[in-house]
């Protein structure tokens, strides 16, 4: 996540400016800013600051390796997703939390507020009216945070991608770590996505900072 953020800070401004801006300039030069133009500012991608942990400066290098291992193992085995159900995928996400496919055994406890959440599972279609709320919620999450884009709608608009009020993919506004395919993805697919995220946390433990 750490490097992704470093990488994320440089390109998003430059490149991602193109698609959302191009769609906007097409609007005729009306006197009053058209609704679509007002919306463009709201859909700007999130500015991601990489966090700096104190123990990185204090602990000598050789001690950081075991510390990273322990911290990453702790983080990966208690991922608290923020209950963020948008549409049909949310029902499948709830089915995954519930007793039949039980996510509690992975230490994954759904949590309502972003303040104590580690993962944001974007389950459903992100519309352009909802995008500012998604960005704000992502920013309000404490820093080692990850995003799972669940379902075709969150990945690139899914069956609704041709409608101009739908954001074609949540990665246009926030950086995404794991994409779970499916419409809606089966509970097993979501579990596979979460396990992939856990492996990713273990791999990138040196970069979380």
């Amino acid at each position: 996540m750490e490097v992704k953020k470093a990488a994320a800070t440089t390109p998003p401004e430059a490149e991602t400016k193109a698609p959302t801006e191009v769609a906007v300039e097409a609007a005729p030069g009306t006197l009053r800013k058209s609704g679509v133009e007002i919306e463009a500012e709201r859909l700007r991608p999130v500015q991601v600051e990489p966090g700096k942990a104190l123990y990185r400066q204090v602990l000598p290098g050789v001690l950081q390796v075991p510390a990273d291992l322990v911290i990453a193992a702790a983080r990966k085995s208690s991922l608290w997703p923020m209950t963020f159900g948008l549409a049909c995928c949310a029902i499948e996400m709830m089915a995954t939390y519930m007793s039949h496919h039980d996510l509690d055994r992975f230490g994954i406890v759904p949590w309502a507020s972003p303040r104590q959440a580690d993962v944001m599972i974007v389950a459903g279609t992100v519309t352009k009216k909802m995008a500012p709320a998604v960005k704000l919620l992502y920013e309000q999450m404490p820093n080692p945070k990850w995003v799972i884009s669940m379902g075709a709608c969150a990945t690139n608009g899914g069956p609704y991608t041709r409608y101009d009020r739908v954001l074609q993919g949540v990665d246009k506004i926030i950086p995404v770590d794991v994409y779970v395919p499916g419409c809606p993805p089966r509970p097993e697919a979501l579990m596979d996505g979460l396990i992939a995220l856990q492996n990713k946390i273990m791999e990138e433990r040196k970069k979380i900072g």
């Binding site: 490149e15 058209s34 074609q168 990665d171 995404v176 970069k207």
Partner: protein
Amino acid sequence: MSPEELQEAPVVPPPAGSVADLFVAVLPDVEFQATQGALDVILTVDRGDVVRILRAARDDPRLDFKYLRCLSGVDHMEAGLEVVYHLYSYTHKHNVTIKTRLPQDDPSVPSVTSIWKGANWHEREAAEMFGIFFEGHPNLVPLLLPEDMTDHHPLRKDSPLAEIEEWQAERAGLAAGETGEAEE
């Protein structure tokens, strides 16, 4: 579906003793064209006496259409916009569809929120999706679109579908699982 291929529905007179005759009995002075739709009778009315006929439909004991089922807008391109009211009566158990045709340049029709409170959101949605202006509506503000987007009518036939933009992650090198360049 090029516009020439569009065919209009054939006008089939409704069977005798149907709701249309009730309307003639209740409101002899209002003239309307009646056709028999797939399920229920369809009356096309001039927009001037829409409120009058709907108020009578709800209050007159013989008609007693207390339940406004659905209110929708239809865009017929050059032939103008259309507002369709579907009514149902719990006591007499009969249905009717009342339609009014609005010209493309001045799409306004009096609001029926004074008759049924249930028409409020239907009218707001038809207003923002088609640009129909409902006079006398208490709060004609976009409902499904953001409040400050009053000039964008997505359901109009002339407003295009969005193009498919490139998938964000591949281009910005942030595809899933890729850990990026800068080593810590």
